[in-house]
């Protein structure tokens, strides 16, 4: 899971067009480099587009915004097929964009 921070968003915002293009190219390159391991990936739209549905207590409650308001938000995820955690860590270490990557097993 890729996690953006406010600071990272601000940095991206402050870049000129050329720098932004270089940043996006680095991400595209990363996906190309690990294409053999990546089985699926998704980039999420920014947090202001989020809608949350809370279930379980009577009628579902629908609210505007993400379920946790925070300075750090999940901005996307990639599914990788690896033998163990160390292999996943190796791929995560080379991620060129947002500053936090969370690794979780999926089934």
């Amino acid at each position: 899971m890729f996690i953006e921070t406010e600071q990272f968003a601000a940095q991206l915002e402050a870049m000129d067009e050329l720098e932004q293009q270089a940043a996006y190219a680095a991400v595209a390159q990363w996906f190309a480099d690990h294409a053999g391991k990546i089985t699926h990936h998704t980039h999420l739209a920014p947090v202001h587009t989020a809608t949350t549905v809370r279930l379980g207590q009577g009628e579902p409650v629908i609210t505007d915004g993400p379920f946790v308001e925070g300075k750090e938000v999940v901005s996307g995820f990639a599914e990788v097929e690896v033998a163990d955690l160390d292999e996943a860590l190796k791929i995560a270490r080379s991620w060129p964009a947002c500053p936090i990557v969370e690794i979780r097993p999926a089934s």
Partner: protein, 404 residues
Amino acid sequence: MNEPVHGQVSQEVLARVVREHAGRLAASLVSLLGDFAAAEDLVQDAVEVALRRWPAEGIPERPEAWLFTVARRHGLDVLRRESNYRAKLARLTSPAPAPRDDRLRLIFTCCHPALSRTAQIALTLRVVCGLSAAQIAAAFLVPESTVAQRITRAKRKIGEAGIPYRIPAAEELPQRVEEVLAVIYLLFNEGYLSSTAERAQARDLVEDAEWLATLLANLLPKQPEAAGLLALIRLHRARGAARFDGQGRLVLLADQDRSLWDRQAIEQATALLTRAARAHRRPGPYQLQAAIVACHAEAETFAATDWAQILVLYDMLLHLAPSPVTRLHRAIAVRHVHGPAQALTELEDLGAVLERYPLFHATRAELLRDLGRREQARTADERALELTANPAQQALLEQRLAWH
């Protein structure tokens, strides 16, 4: 200490044999079963049986084969109840594990950075050193259930998150070795600082730390920091007899009876350090700390201490691993080389970060006293006393406050 039933197996011998063999058995079983948690359960059971029976029956000639047999028998019992163990236990048919030492892989798994530090420590003590949850709990003064829960969670994470059972690749190795060394160093500190005359009965973590450092230094001969940590631990231990007086009170370095130091152990540890430094020429924080302790250990008297050399070593250490606590220790060397006034100036910068660190205030008190500022010295000692939880340090500070 409890007398063994037939008097032939002391607790100390028992602990040593278990420590030597439990980790080997765990390593073999993880390899055979490919399941860390299942292997660890079997080892724990086998060790429990051993601890119950060996004091009365004596230690078997081949403890490893004995433990393996018990583990396998227990594994077969489990098999009858749980079908998913079937495939794994089929692999347990060989009579005894191969003699290959797989404990390095075991250590790297237990100290994987994806586990919390407390989990790394509990798991290493349990799986590599063969301690029971009760022994770990007693050593860290926490409830046994807390330790058991930490171990259970850690084992679950190893299985579910896919923490591998292998020696890290070359490019990850330095970082991963650092992680293992940090765990051993923490264990050592915990044991060393909490050791007092009254707690002599408790499991000696210092011994486990030295044993682990020895194992690691042997298994990783190309890593000078492993030798550095081992030398550091041995240099501290060589002076252990002089740390407390007859009443169990802490004795400061300057006041220690140096004839109680184990000169031979000091020489050997220094030689180990020198060999590692010369062979690799890659200084690191543990080698440098050991070199500093060696400077103290080699001085015939406190006055003969080579403070100029110590100051150089502290500068190198700070360059590699900047830390406010290291700067505090460096200030003590500055006091002996350049005088208390300069040392105090260096300390003032650290006040903001080390405000809650008792040794900061105790050191400051000493420097202020050197400069004749007795009222301020007293206030600083009082602050140190407020902050320290260690009974031996409290006693020392109370004594100092009463005298001055």
